[in-house]
């Protein structure tokens, strides 16, 4: 029997080079922490920004697959009120970003609104391209997808949304 590839989503935190860890959630808050537990102490203050999230797809084993591509990311819903979930993911005009320590001021890289429906085409690049695929002889990481939440000054209660990730596997 043939074996599929193993693909994980990893998050990078801290100063370059930083550390990179497979995610179990994408909770966002007032610390630069992977797999954060939501609590009063990690909550984002009204009128403030979360720390950016820097994540990317990583093929840890190709097994019997040859290529991974068609990367898509989207959220389950919009945030409420004037809160905004921003990102760099987009279906056109992808620009690869070199890792920089996540910030909790307005991100200059995450300027798009996170889509809440599965996009039609890929919205995360590989090697600065939508058509390049990850291969055992080439890239094993995608480019970074960056996210940040901006919490409006009037927000009292937030909304829980979730993230979806998708890829196509060829053999």
């Amino acid at each position: 029997m043939a074996t599929p590839a193993t693909v994980v989503i990893k998050e990078r935190n801290g100063a370059p080079a930083g550390t990179e860890t497979p995610i179990t959630n994408t909770n966002m808050g007032n610390t630069d922490t992977v797999n954060m537990t939501i609590s009063k102490t990690t909550a984002i203050t009204a009128g403030a920004y979360s720390y950016e999230k820097w994540q990317r797809f990583n093929v840890t084993a190709f097994n019997d697959a040859t290529d991974i591509g068609g990367l898509k990311v989207w959220a389950s819903a919009l945030l409420t009120g004037s809160d905004v979930h921003k990102t760099n993911v987009r279906e056109a005009g992808w620009v690869q970003s070199a890792y920089a320590q996540p910030i909790n001021t307005a991100s200059t890289l995450a300027g798009q609104t996170m889509p809440i429906l599965e996009p039609t085409g890929p919205n995360v690049g590989i090697a600065n391209s939508y058509v390049t695929t990850m291969t055992s002889a080439g890239e094993t990481y995608s480019d970074y997808l960056i996210m940040q939440i901006s919490v409006a000054a009037g927000t009292t209660v937030g909304k829980a949304i979730t993230m979806n990730y998708q890829y196509d596997e060829y053999g």
Partner: protein, 131 residues
Amino acid sequence: MTDLRVYRDNSEIYVWEWEAHYLDGTVLHQTENGLVHRIKDIEQWKLAEFKLCSVFPAVAPISLLWRPGRKLIYFTRVSFFNVGKENELTMRRYCLGYEDGDSKVILTIMPDGGIIVSQDGNIKIKVSEEK
């Protein structure tokens, strides 16, 4: 939009494997004698039928009868829905089809065995809040 409630596939094997049936009666299997063949190993010019067979013997195979000039499409699409939530779901869909001139057809095999026919394989799925 397809509402997916309970079906999932996060198997550590491909639960569907392909067979390339040639006009001369020979067959190339995806896995054969411990070897794994690639899609690029298929000689499409002499293809008569592209078939997907489930690893579960009770499940009927799915066949694509071939016509010369077509270009074979085959990939699997893996989705991680609601990562970190109680209703987190990993799902693999099997997509087979062809391009023939300006036309393109993709059959997407869903984890419950249902088949959705489309031109691009973009089946947008809504994952229910129910676990």
